[in-house]
């Protein structure tokens, strides 16, 4: 059967999730208040690199309300394994041993050294200030390129190097003799993900040594597995619940020290332990994204056919490897050529330790970093060739699908010309360029620029065999269960773990179309390892491409069993039954029909089932995707730059995306809005700034610019559609597309606005100071 999109799939249904959230009845971790709860506060290092000479906890232990104080050394034996890294990307990758609290040395500002537990948060915070830690400061290395050099200050002396790994992928030789070669170095600074809900955990000890852990996490299943492993517990003794989670963007895709500490302390103290992160603590203790320095080279013929690509990527790991830290750069490794057919491909990644907060997944994770350098370099190449930047892109688009690209993967489907055509229809480029020309001629203070980004990306993480081949420790499948309840309603259990993405609504729409009910008749359960024992959670734009496909596959199993029940009850052959949208009809007997709901009752009553058939109508499917998901599209930014102050303001943003079949356009547009905002913000506002001593200089929301509505325009969105051929109903991922596409469009626009002044480069974020300096530099 095929999806017609005449039903609930494709309809802009308002979300089921909204009502409690709108009424202030969300169940975020900080709202969980269990009897007897004690509050944990982590004492963190103010130094980025130091040995711990001594820790005196006596005064803290004596303070009002304090239940316990522990140092890293005192808890060392609670850990049966070091903090987990699930992606040893090479055989010889360096992985410094890392525990939830540092034992003898701290390696970034914010590294935990002790915990204080008290009856109230206020008492715990007060007592934490009384923990007296004596540090002996060490030399600090912050800059990722400097850290990669021979003789650099070492973050981990015992490793003998700051280089974590070197990972090359070369499938062709760079054409050094090409007509034109452009080469440019790009800095992409560290970013603080800033989910508006900080992290938080509550761990409750249960009788017999079991623990229930509530965590603001994207990954309850992964967290359960690895928390149990780190603590040497049986998985069966740990239940993990992700309640309402206030955004993640990759930053809650991890196994964090505080999750492990809360479980360990709940077991030690025999009472519920709660920890909630402060925002400035979040800036230090939750992972950062990006922090790449990349040199990209493109070689082309003089008429603009790109023949070779070479990238050299230096990526900061921060001080330690978190869950998937070393793999993040590699998630971009196959798409440095983007939507373009470039035959010779060579990329090289060097992961490097620095005395900074560990990096890990932040929206897009490796792919924005690839798209940024490619789309910036496309503009440079167009300029070098004297060719129109849009034409250069068109000339190199992949047009035949499925397309096996030079990096070795196969793109199942796409239509990059269609997206670009539609973008140009919406944009009104001629009018914009005439306006630009007028302002240039008049010498206006405020100049405008237009920037493009045509992109594709690989998401829907991920085919398990490929993950195995690139040394990721687990698979990339997803599970779903559908239970047809006797009253004709449906219970869905999904292994995905939404935190704003609207899975309850979207999954209901899928079931409603496939099994013939109203979405309100579908209940979607998620985020609790006792309810959904198998699942690989939500990240990497995987929930619909993988989890939605699992759900669809479970639905097909339901239909097959129902078909046998219906055939038996109507006394016809299964081959005589047609099925559409929940109803079986008998070919040639239009008066005979029976629904899935009817079959569900029959399976529940079990009075008259085919011989040997088990009662109840229920199915579970585990879907392992045959390929990644390959969305793509074309984006354009229009900026106005004040040439006297350097202030660059985004005035328009047009995004045309191809995400295949859309289940809920409201939700998809929302994902795109949020995604492009994070990309725009990367381009214009955001950077975690470290001083040379490794102090995070802007680690608060007062100092680090998370944009408000006032910094942004409304967005202009549209879509093209090429269905994913590797997905049962043609859907592609959408969660990261905007973030992947947006940053280069914006920076290309800023440079375009100033190109007549001789400006050719501006480093992200394009702050007023950077823009002003670029203008002044170009005058010299």
């Amino acid at each position: 059967m095929s999806v017609t999109e005449s039903g609930f799939i494709g309809a802009p249904l308002k979300r089921k999730e909204d009502d409690p959230l709108l009424r202030g009845r969300g169940t975020y971790v900080d709202n969980i208040d269990l009897p007897g709860t004690v509050v944990m506060v982590v004492v963190r290092s103010p130094y980025a690199h130091a040995t711990i000479a001594s820790i005196d906890t006596a005064a803290a232990k004596a303070a009002e309300g304090v239940v316990a104080v522990f140092t890293g050394a005192e808890l060392r034996d609670d850990w049966k394994a070091a903090m987990p890294c699930a992606w040893p990307v090479t055989e010889d990758m360096k992985n410094p041993e890392h525990f939830p609290l540092a034992v003898s040395q701290v390696n970034y500002q914010g590294d935990g050294v002790a915990v204080v537990v008290a009856d109230t948060r206020a008492h715990a915070v007060d007592a934490a200030e009384l923990v007296d830690v004596e540090y002996e400061a060490l030399d600090v290395i912050v800059d990722v390129e400097a850290a990669a050099q021979e003789g650099a200050t070492l973050v981990h002396e015992d490793l003998g190097t700051n280089v974590c790994y070197v990972w090359p992928l070369e499938t062709g030789t760079f054409d050094e003799g090409a007509d034109v070669i452009v080469k440019h170095r790009y800095v992409q600074p560290p970013l603080i993900p800033n989910a508006i809900e900080p992290r938080g955990v509550v761990a409750r000890p249960e009788p017999g040594g079991d623990v229930t852990l509530w965590s603001a996490t994207q990954v309850p299943h992964i967290l359960r597995l690895l928390t149990a492993a780190t603590l040497g517990m049986s998985e069966t003794r740990l239940r993990v619940i992700a309640p309402d989670v206030g955004g993640g963007f990759g930053s809650k895709l991890d196994v964090y020290a505080e999750e492990l500490l809360a479980v360990a302390l709940a077991r030690r103290l025999g009472t519920p332990v709660k920890w909630v992160e402060e925002r400035s603590e979040n800036a230090l203790a939750t992972i950062h994204g990006r922090d790449f320095v990349t040199t990209l080279e493109l070689a082309a013929t003089k008429d603009g056919k790109i023949t070779s690509l070479r990238a050299n990527v230096i990526a900061s790991m921060g001080a330690y490897l978190q869950l998937v830290t070393p793999g993040i750069p590699l998630l971009g490794a196959w798409i440095y050529a983007g939507p373009y057919a470039i035959p010779n491909y060579s990329v090289m990644f060097t992961g490097v330790f620095t005395n900074t907060t560990p990096t890990d997944a932040y929206r897009g994770a490796g792919r924005p970093e690839a798209t940024y350098v490619l789309e910036r370099t496309m503009d440079l190449l167009a300029k070098e060739l004297g060719m129109d930047r849009v034409e250069l892109r068109r000339k190199n688009f992949i047009t035949e699908f499925p397309a096996t690209i030079a990096s070795g993967l196969t793109i199942d489907n796409g239509d990059y010309h269609a997206s670009l055509d539609k973008l140009l229809e919406h944009l009104g480029l001629g009018t914009l360029l005439a306006e630009q020309e007028g302002r240039r001629e008049r010498g206006d203070v405020k100049q405008i620029g237009v920037g493009f980004s045509t992109y594709n990306e690989m998401c829907g993480l991920a085919p398990s065999r490929i993950l195995g081949a690139i040394r990721y420790a687990a698979g990339g499948w997803e599970t779903a269960t559908i239970r047809c309840l006797p009253t004709g309603t449906f219970q869905v259990v999904t292994g995905t773990s939404p935190h704003g993405q609207g899975h309850e609504t979207a999954w209901s729409q899928i079931v409603a179309d496939q099994l013939g009910c109203d979405p309100s008749e579908v209940e979607v359960l998620h985020g609790d390892t006792s309810i959904s024992p198998f699942g690989l959670d939500t990240y990497g734009s995987r929930s619909l491409p993988v989890g939605g496909a699992a759900l669809w596959t479970a639905g097909e199993k339901i239909i097959e069993k129902a078909r046998e029940i219906v055939a038996h009850q109507l006394e016809v052959s299964v081959d005589d039954l047609d099925y559409e949208a929940g109803t079986f009809t008998v070919r040639g007997s239009p008066d005979k029909e029976m629904t899935v709901k009817g079959a569900a009752w029959a399976a529940f009553a079990a009075h008259d089932l085919p011989d040997g058939m088990e009662p109840t109508l229920e199915a579970t499917a585990t879907y392992d995707p045959p390929n990644f998901s390959w969305p793509g599209g074309a984006h354009a930014a229009v900026v106005e730059v004040d040439t006297e102050t350097g202030d660059a303001r985004l005035v328009r943003y047009v995004a045309i995306d191809d995400v295949g079949t859309v289940v809920n356009p409201l939700i998809v547009d929302g994902q795109v809005h949020g995604g492009i905002t994070q990309g725009i913000s990367t381009a214009l506002f955001e950077e975690a700034i470290y001083d040379e001593d490794g102090n995070l200089a802007n680690g608060t929301m007062a100092m680090y610019l998370v944009p408000s509505a006032a910094e942004l325009p409304s967005f202009e969105l549209d879509r093209t559609k090429s269905k994913a051929t590797d997905h049962p109903f043609g859907a592609k991922g959408v969660g990261e597309t905007g973030t992947i596409a947006a940053a280069p469009a914006v920076i290309n626009a800023v440079i375009d606005a100033l190109s007549h002044l001789g400006v050719t480069d501006i480093q992200m974020p394009a702050t007023p100071e950077r823009v002003w300096r670029a203008i002044e530099e170009a005058k010299k």
């Binding site: 709108l22 202030g24 206020a122 935190h499 704003g500 809005h673 949020g674 408000s708 409304s714």
Partner: protein, 154 residues
């Protein structure tokens, strides 16, 4: 300890609080009104916005003792007789929330903005909501929701 009296969502409460207790902590921890969220520690994010004597305030920026005698409305007090307030309804209609964490504060700020007559157009709404941060929506649908609610009788 100080004695304070607060009228919250129509109910009068007499409480003994510490001078350092922030209004948001009084609401959340003493009155169990956990709809008001805490998102930062620098009064930047606005997740904790409530109405205090009809004005929107960040409840992390007000001491509990300062609120003595005040009439306070939190997100829990906005819906009347179970029906969503027009701003809450508009947020639902326009998909103006994703994770929902900023939503209580954003809704309260929007209610105040509309009641003050300042939500006259989309630019004014953007400026008026400058103190409330959302990381999910990119604000596009929040602006549409507030614009729609501002145009409908409340």
């Amino acid at each position: 300890m100080h004695q304070v009296a607060l009228t919250v969502n129509g109910t009068r409460h007499e409480l003994e609080i510490e001078p350092r207790d922030l209004l948001v902590h009084v609401l959340r921890e003493r009155l169990s009104l956990t709809g008001t969220n805490v998102g930062c520690d620098t009064s930047s994010c606005g997740a904790c916005t409530v109405l205090l004597d009809g004005q929107s305030v960040k409840s992390c920026t007000v001491l509990g003792v300062q609120a003595d005698g005040a009439v306070i409305t939190t997100i829990e007090g906005l819906a009347a007789n179970g029906e969503l307030h027009p701003v809450q309804q508009a947020f639902h209609d326009h998909h103006a929330l994703q994770c929902g964490y900023c939503t209580p504060g954003m809704v309260m700020a929007a209610v105040s903005l509309i009641e003050s007559g300042e939500a006259t157009d989309r630019d004014a709404i953007r400026s008026g909501l400058e103190g409330n941060l959302c990381r999910c929506t990119g604000y596009h649908n929040i602006v549409e929701a507030v614009f729609a609610a501002a145009g409908s009788p409340s």
